[in-house]
Symmetry: C2
Subunit: 165 residues, 2 copies
């Protein structure tokens, strides 16, 4: 918006935002791969994979949506760095960042919590599928880190909100 | 902070905040009662209750913490209405509201998602405990509404943040 020449606190927090989004992106990518390739045969010879549990299907949906959002945000950041101004001008950009980060952070947390809520008790019930639930747990943990980075980004974009008159 | 005499937009949003916290409080109270009294004997005669699942134990913890936070916030609101000024003066009050609402809304959502993540798949596996899982589902739904109210309150308190210089 304003064209100050010295590296201000807004430039610092914008760089921090890009880093946080890059970290979220990487963690979500690994979480996606982990849960997508997670399959195992149990004692009875039945193959189980993530599509067998609603909790894991929901988890993978939240990962994909979070992944797409972070890709979009990084694209917008690169565009604004190259062109020198924000892709969304005026208050619209700040509102998009604020609500985007807020909603996506809620989404990622709900996916991770649903995955953990299902896996933790599943592991106590059936120890024959430990390798399956361990990979699912790892995926939910990475998703939780993705949430944490997005929650920090959401704090930045909350403070960047334009003050109401 | 400033003592404007006419009912400003800040007064309106403060009233909305109190209403949202009252709604959250009521929903969490019902959710707490529902999950706490939820017990049933299965076909084998074993009694199951919420303490048998980590997901439900986590859920009840988030309800209790959210309940305590909303009680505190309503107490502070009543104090500020009676005394005419905020209990926490300066920017501290706004920061407390902002981070409080943000963290508690994340907590409530994670509790609800963990409960749902466990219950949805439990219901598919064992139909003999339908009454048990239905009450747990109802409790998780009420908790989700509590989260929604807190998330809206969190949006209000984000916009009320003091603008950095």
């Amino acid at each position: 918006m304003d064209s100050s020449s010295k590296p201000s606190s807004s430039t610092v927090s914008r760089t921090a935002l890009v880093l946080l989004r890059l970290l979220t992106f990487v963690f979500l990518l690994i979480a996606l791969i982990l849960i997508a390739i997670d399959k195992q045969s149990d004692d009875a010879g039945n193959q189980i994979k993530f599509t067998d549990a609603y909790a894991y299907r929901y988890m993978i949906s939240t990962i994909v949506i979070g992944f797409a959002y972070n890709l979009l945000q990084m694209g917008l950041s690169i565009f604004s760095m190259v062109s020198g101004n924000r892709a969304l001008n005026g208050d619209g950009g700040y509102l998009f960042d604020f609500f985007g980060d807020k909603i996506i952070s809620y989404l990622l947390l709900s996916g991770s919590a649903a995955g953990f809520g299902f896996t933790i008790d599943l592991r106590r019930g059936d120890s024959s599928i430990n390798s399956f639930t361990e990979k699912a747990n790892a995926s939910a943990s990475l998703l939780l880190f993705g949430f944490l980075f997005t929650a920090i980004a959401s704090t930045f974009t909350s403070f960047a909100l334009p003050k109401k008159p």
